[in-house]
Amino acid sequence: MEAFYLIKIGEILLKLGNRREFEDRLRSQLHARLELAGIPHKVEMYPGRYFVRVPEERARDAEIILAATPGVNGYARAIKTEKTVDAVLAAAVEVARGRFGQGLRRFKAESRRSDKSFPLGSFELSARIGAVVLDALPEAKVDLHSPEFTINAEIRERAYVFADPEPGLRGLPVGSGGTGLLLLSGGIDSPVAGYLMARRGLALEACYFHAYPYTSEEAKQKVVSLARILASFTGSIRLWTVPFTEAQLRIKKEARQDLTTLMMRAGMMRVAQLLAAKIGANCIVTGESLGQVASQTAENLRFTQSYTDYPVLRPLVGMDKEDTIRLAKRIGSFDVSILPYEDCCVLFSPKHPMLKAKLGREREAYEALGLESYLVEALEKAERIDVAPEWARAPRLP
């Protein structure tokens, strides 16, 4: 048995100029993910509709992937039939039985006909579907205004019958916006920022600053776990862990106490600039949110921003913490983020940090630190980990 999915695509259709590129990207995204999960599959494209076929026994796994692939607006398990009235009606009854089994009763039928040679018009076809379903399932009720389920019939190159599509992530296919370098900490915000930008079509590589022994091995493993969650949305993710202890010690020793956090952020941004150039990223992504902590005032963002010429995308900048937490829970990163392996950066944070950096003055202070050689060395020693999504480990069929 084969499970046959109809994929609805949304925003891609708006991109008339380079629509082809977007479509190819979504197709290759779906293909790569199903491949990585070891699911035998076929991805078919027709105008306005994609279809994915997988073996019945991997249907659950495939649905997990479809639900987490940006660019997919929705997907529905569909029945593909001959383009005859009888075949379409039989399929409609089968779809209705499935929903009926879930306890749903009130329904409506919707038909679309792009093949005008089909003997019934869409209105007539819907009416016939309603009639045969009522016939087969006397307890069902037609309800055009607030149905509990919808039976969709589409007469195109073939005929497809399906119930209500499951919602997809929407957004744009990963990679269509280039590659972003995500500054990933163990906290709540940065994974959410990565997720939001992945939905906007960014492929992601992530950068984690590891200050061993101040930060523990467990803290690093936590970041790997967070990257793995993000990889479910991006398909895969490359994580760079940059050893930052020496740089931090240098800052601690040389910088004025109220500036240590700012200097550290500037140093991190400088590393991000170098790393972005190295990997060919076209932007930097952070989880910063205006005013959330002392380093995230507009003045301080301007200062740290000045150490890169890439656009720094901050999807959380205007978000309330509660909203971020809700999103973190939804994508599954929250429970990992709150694991107690705190980075001991607490020990580095000044009691009264500078809130409003003066660009020129603070840049001079940064220059005086002589940090560059430490940062270059840190980047050279960076460890590269390719993190696969959870479902990549799904068992392969013999």
Binding site: Y214, S216, L249, K252, P340, C344, L347
Partner: protein, 401 residues
């Protein structure tokens, strides 16, 4: 090669004692409760082990005194605590709980501390006595917490983070006096977690003289195997966890002959070597305390602890490195092959963030978070201590913030 200075967490097992016990257990495979020859033989060996362990510990066994083998120290602590829950539920016919009181301390090991919190959440009245700044609870403070409904007092013998030796005799006397003053017929049951005391300091048993009515022990802290301990008592509590009635029903479950035998063997060895071992530990304690004093900024907790002070187990010293988190120090030392810890290896309570024992002694957060516990044993040497001091001084110099 690891420099192992974490003996309070666990100890390298005595391989010959373990092998001997494994051999015996393979031979005497019978269930000690079985009424046939193999069962009888296993039973005889088990009783042998019990007698030897009691003798080695100096635990009274006459009359109502019992020495039961358990699955470890934590389990031994739970027996009297859960017995209070049983009494509290028994006292009322309508199924409601009688609000009995348990008096314990803020410095207990998690085995007692966490269980006490659960019992509190179940409706018992649990009081946590604060230690004095020297890390010891004052007998009068414990006595002051005892009221007419107090069913249990639980105070550890030696604290696992600071090495502070508690005055169990004094506490027993004080709660006895308080009970008389309250007009109680008897004093509450007095239990003591003696896991860090066994083989390290003289044990106090309250049979015929002031001391605890029960005590919990663990074999792996004195080079025995994990998963075996003992529960001594002079007045057996009514256990909540029941089963096949083994070990006077105090600790039901088929007896662990292998563990019991090994425990007896290592306890005997610990008894034989007690004096030279303590003397050796005193020398190492001096080396640690004096060495720490020579590291600029470092200090021993509680401050003012001097070598040879009998208020502290010489086997455990807490050293603070202000400005550097104890966890970071532990990692830095681990990287150069020195094994110490931040205190209890099994303490994850988030209520008192960080280090509740040191915090309860009135030490500030920064100081208590910066402490590491150095604990020695019979295989530790002066060179081990020197390696620790050297590595700690170097890490501190580099990493302190």
């Amino acid at each position: 090669m690891t420099t192992y200075l974490d003996w309070a967490a666990t100890t390298p097992p005595d391989a010959s004692a373990l092998a001997e016990a494994a051999g015996l257990a393979s031979e005497c495979y019978g269930n000690p409760s079985s009424r046939h020859a193999p069962g009888a033989e296993a039973k005889a060996r088990l009783e042998d082990a019990r007698a030897r362990l009691a003798a080695a510990m100096g635990a009274p066994v006459a009359g109502r005194c019992r020495l039961a083998f358990t699955g470890g120290g934590t389990e031994g602590d739970h027996i009297p605590m859960l017995a209070v829950l049983r009494s509290a539920l028994n006292a009322r016919r309508d199924g409601s709980i009688k609000v009995l009181r348990i008096v314990t301390t803020e410095i207990e090991h998690s085995a007692v501390y966490e269980e006490a919190h659960i019992l509190k959440s179940l409706g018992l009245d649990v009081r946590f006595v604060e230690p004095r700044p020297d890390g010891r609870v004052a007998p009068q403070d414990v006595a002051a917490a005892v009221d007419k409904d107090t069913a249990l007092v639980s105070v550890m013998a030696v604290n696992n983070e600071t090495g502070a030796v508690q005055d169990l005799g004094g506490i027993a006397e004080a709660i006895g006096a308080a009970s008389s003053a309250l007009g109680r017929r008897a004093a509450p049951h007095f239990h003591s977690d003696m896991v860090q005391a066994l083989g390290k300091v003289p044990l106090v048993f309250g049979s015929g003289k002031p001391g605890p009515d029960s005590a919990a022990f663990s074999a792996h802290k004195i080079r025995g195997p994990r998963g075996v301990g003992a529960f001594w008592t002079a007045s057996p509590p009514e256990p909540l966890a029941l089963g096949g009635g083994q070990e006077w029903a105090l600790r039901p479950g088929t007896e662990n002959l292998q563990g019991a035998w090994a425990f007896a063997a290592v306890a005997e060895a610990a008894g034989r070597t007690f004096e030279p071992r303590v003397e050796g530990a005193r020398a190492l304690e001096r080396r640690i305390i004096e060495g720490a004093a020579a590291i600029r900024g470092a200090l021993v907790l509680p401050e003012g602890r001097a070598p040879g002070d009998v208020r502290y187990s010489p086997f455990i010293v807490s050293v603070a490195f202000p400005g550097l988190s104890g966890e970071v120090m532990v990692r830095a030392l681990a990287d150069v092959g020195v094994a110490v810890s931040t205190g209890s290896a099994c303490s994850n309570n988030s209520k008192r963030k960080g280090r509740r024992v040191l915090a309860a002694m009135g030490l500030g957060e920064e100081l208590s978070l910066s402490a590491v516990r150095v604990s020695t044993g019979e295989l530790s040497s002066g060179e081990d201590v020197d390696r620790f001091l050297e590595a700690a001084a170097s890490a501190y110099g580099k990493l302190r913030t």
